[in-house]
Symmetry: C3
Subunit: 378 residues, 3 copies
């Protein structure tokens, strides 16, 4: 007769030599940071926002990080497009407010060069005596944009990989959650004093949960669930809710129904998917939590966290998202505190790389991935 | 029969290839900024202040920017001299207050090395047992100084070009305005988040006036007047006041008489002369406006703006400069806002050089001039 | 018959060529600062604190400066040890509070790696499936520590010079003061905007005393006493109290008895010893003043000043240290003001090295010493 231990470390063993953390410079050197921006953030698809932020033609929001400033808008055809937020005349910033509505045309406030919502230059005063000047040669700088179930992504590369390649089939996997229908009801912005990779690494293992997140661990055992092997564009896993727990909330209960399309199994799970390099997606049975990570400096990251719910749940008179908001506010604060401490300790003169355990395989995956990306650019 | 369009773009055409704005690094790279300081600000004559700030022997003010700190003073002979604000013993800062009066001698507060107002070392306690030490070998570091019609200039170069060469005849041109007699009645200091060249460029064209400065454009048509061709030490032009307009003020009127020496034509004009690299001179029929531009960092410039009037006007019981002060306060704020936006847009990852029009020829002149200055230093 | 001048400049003459101050870059260039940290602060013994700060097993305080973060603690054996404040797993900062008590073990707040007070790794959850992992291979990073008469020193070098070599016999010289018995009653932290060497240089001559410190000069003539020749690890001298003066206090008097062990001569003297590179020790007849200098940046230094008294004096009902505290608060402010002005003047574009007098021989010693240290590292 055999007894099964419910939560055991059954993942394959790793060897010490293969699994050491990165040298400090990957977390502290501004030059490595700039190389990472080139090799990663300026090359890959970035989560920019949600289609509900762009209800009408002319609706826009800005994406700003580390020298990047992009206008994401809905054009006259109803399509979502993105452009560098800089005039083609003398480089003036076109849109200053973080979000708003453009009244038909984008007009530069300096010399009135004017662009339509498709980015075409349609007005350029006093340029008639510049020989060889043609308006069609000076449209706004185009940035690739794509959408998936309500998520808007942009890509700053001159030759973006196909968006479908970036999604790598996760669109099919997560179709049952019907994310396109969901609405954001809360948005919080955090400023971590930590390198962006430390936020990813913190997200990608739950060994710290019993120590740092007692409430989370009470609702969802830190050894439950399993991870996919690391992928080129994402790292993902899931964890089980404990018996009697309905969702991640302050008391583990929810008065919201589960999403209509998901299976009975998935009503007892939370999915944690990290889309490299800036999007974290938590799918609970009854709400979606999203994080955008914006690298600000080698040791600073801006984190935008949003709580999204089903419109039917929102429409109910007793709708109250605070159980979910409070739960993650608590958990987020615990995580950013740890990430800040990791940044401080790695910046210490006395830091040296240490060994990951075999349950931190996603972190080792991130490290290998960043090294490969940087090497490719050399 | 021919109809003449009053304000037409009659300047010569330019070709697209010749007139592109500079690459971003000239506005964003701290190393280019340091090279510019060497090639430009540490080599050319800089507007430092006005002689009225130095009424008596011992009167002084400081010139401080980007690592430079110079004492400008009136010496015992009544001459204006300038010295590095650092003791020749151990380098201590000598004068701390921005302006004041030195009581006869400059005494270092650390070890009492003492200099007369001509910069000679006249006291050096405890140096008698240093073999080879002679007081005459350790005067204050001399900085060249010159004056023109009440304006004080300094030059930090070891071998300054003659000041007359810098003025290039403008002293004769502007003699009728009698600037030496004028008195400053208002001084305002602005901190632009923009490279110093962007302030110059903003100053050197009025195509933005109908868009950004509706009041200015109502008083003085943006296509009126004309520019001189760009010169090695200055860029200048003039604009006409519209009919019935007496000066640039909130209502276009003035209860001050025009300057006594100027011609009837010049009573209907405003002159805009940019003395490279730090002095902007606006001559209105009844007042003088001056700007000093002090580079602080590649993306920061301190701007000192002063309003100067004729003593006879000031002496009148109903003298009130606020119509002129308010007009330029409004216009200045509009210009610094645009310059800041230009800095932000040029700093954008998506910026690329764009074409100037044929009416932005002074800006293209500035760009060529800075490239030549930098090349000469290579 | 001969008349003796009491305070004359009887030190040997120096030659001008040999005694010029250092070029500006030694005070302004961040790269020189980093090289100095390597050649000096990461190589030499640093004053870290006092044994009275570590009364019990588990008591600790942190040493933090310029990328260094070290835990100094008393271990289970009663010994004082020091460790890099960073976990050997993923580099997390272990202790966050500046001082406190560790309850038996140091546990990382991230994944609960646990160390005993001797630095041994005694707990590493989930590492059992990492092949080749042995806890004994991952102790906390050790930092050398040593004590002398109540003073705690640390050394960050991999191969520290013997501590006795650093003390160079000063432990015998200052044994009569019984420093181990003294207790700190006041601690003040200052933030100078000056390179750390300028604080040392300010400390190492009293020519500025009659100018900057009139009260100090009234109690102790600036030409009194004498210096030792510069040593590889310290610079020291003493000055005499004037007749009738009992100590350095606001009125020159003290109601505290002199330290029991010191000679009659030393009851009329103050010793000023600068232990390179971060410890200044002032021994008065009845109290000890200590300074720690922590380099923060090339132009910033944190200074920790402490006043220490004999327990018998402290125990007296009329004990009041404010006469000594106020005296040095006044003097400190005067000195930091001068050091800040020296930094500002040396940072001036117009600075050039100047000559030391023959009574600034310790400063010239510091300069030579830093050049030798840097050269050794090339």
């Amino acid at each position: 007769m055999t007894t099964t231990v419910r939560y055991a470390n059954n993942r394959p063993a790793v060897s010490l030599e293969e699994t050491m953390t990165l040298p400090a410079r990957y977390y502290t050197d501004p030059e490595v940071f700039q190389r990472e921006l080139q090799a990663v953030h300026l090359d890959m698809w970035l989560h920019a926002g949600r289609t509900e932020q762009l209800p009408d033609a002319g609706s826009y929001f800005l994406v700003r990080f580390a020298g990047v400033n992009v206008i994401v808008l809905r054009d006259q055809n109803g399509d979502i497009s993105a452009f560098h937020n800089t005039c083609r005349h003398r480089g003036t910033l076109l849109c200053k407010e973080h979000q708003g509505t453009i009244p038909g045309k984008i007009r530069c406030p300096y010399h009135a060069w004017t662009y339509d919502l498709e980015g075409n230059l349609v007005g350029a005063p006093h340029m008639e005596k510049v020989e060889g000047f043609r308006m069609q040669d000076h449209p706004l700088g185009k940035v690739a944009a794509a959408t998936w179930d309500g998520h808007v992504f942009i890509n700053l590369s001159a030759q973006p990989v196909p968006f479908a390649e970036h999604l790598a089939g996760l669109d099919r996997k997560f179709a049952p959650w019907g994310m396109a229908d969901l609405k954001c009801v809360e948005r919080r912005v955090y400023h971590a004093k930590a390198n962006w990779k430390l936020i990813f690494q913190n997200y990608s293992e739950c060994l710290h949960c019993p120590i740092a997140h007692p409430l989370l661990n009470k609702l969802s055992h830190y050894m439950s669930g399993d991870n996919e092997p690391p992928q080129p564009t994402y790292l993902g896993g899931r964890m089980d809710l404990r018996e009697g727990v309905q969702t991640l909330s302050m008391n583990g209960l929810s008065n919201r129904p589960p999403f209509p399309g998901i299976s009975a199994e998935d009503r007892q799970r939370v999915y944690y998917y990290a889309f490299l390099p800036n999007f974290l997606l938590n799918l609970h049975p009854d709400y979606m939590l999203t994080f955008q990570l914006w690298p600000v400096a080698v040791d600073q990251t801006e984190i935008v966290c949003e709580w999204h719910f089903h419109p039917d749940a929102i429409a109910k008179p007793d709708f109250d998202p605070s159980d979910a908001v409070d739960f993650w506010e608590l958990t987020n604060q615990q995580d950013w505190e740890l990430s800040d401490r990791a940044q401080e300790g790695i910046s210490n003169h006395g830091y040296q790389p240490g060994p990951y355990s075999n349950r931190e395989e996603l972190l080792f995956g991130i490290d290998r991935w960043i090294l490969e990306r940087l090497a490719r650019r050399q």
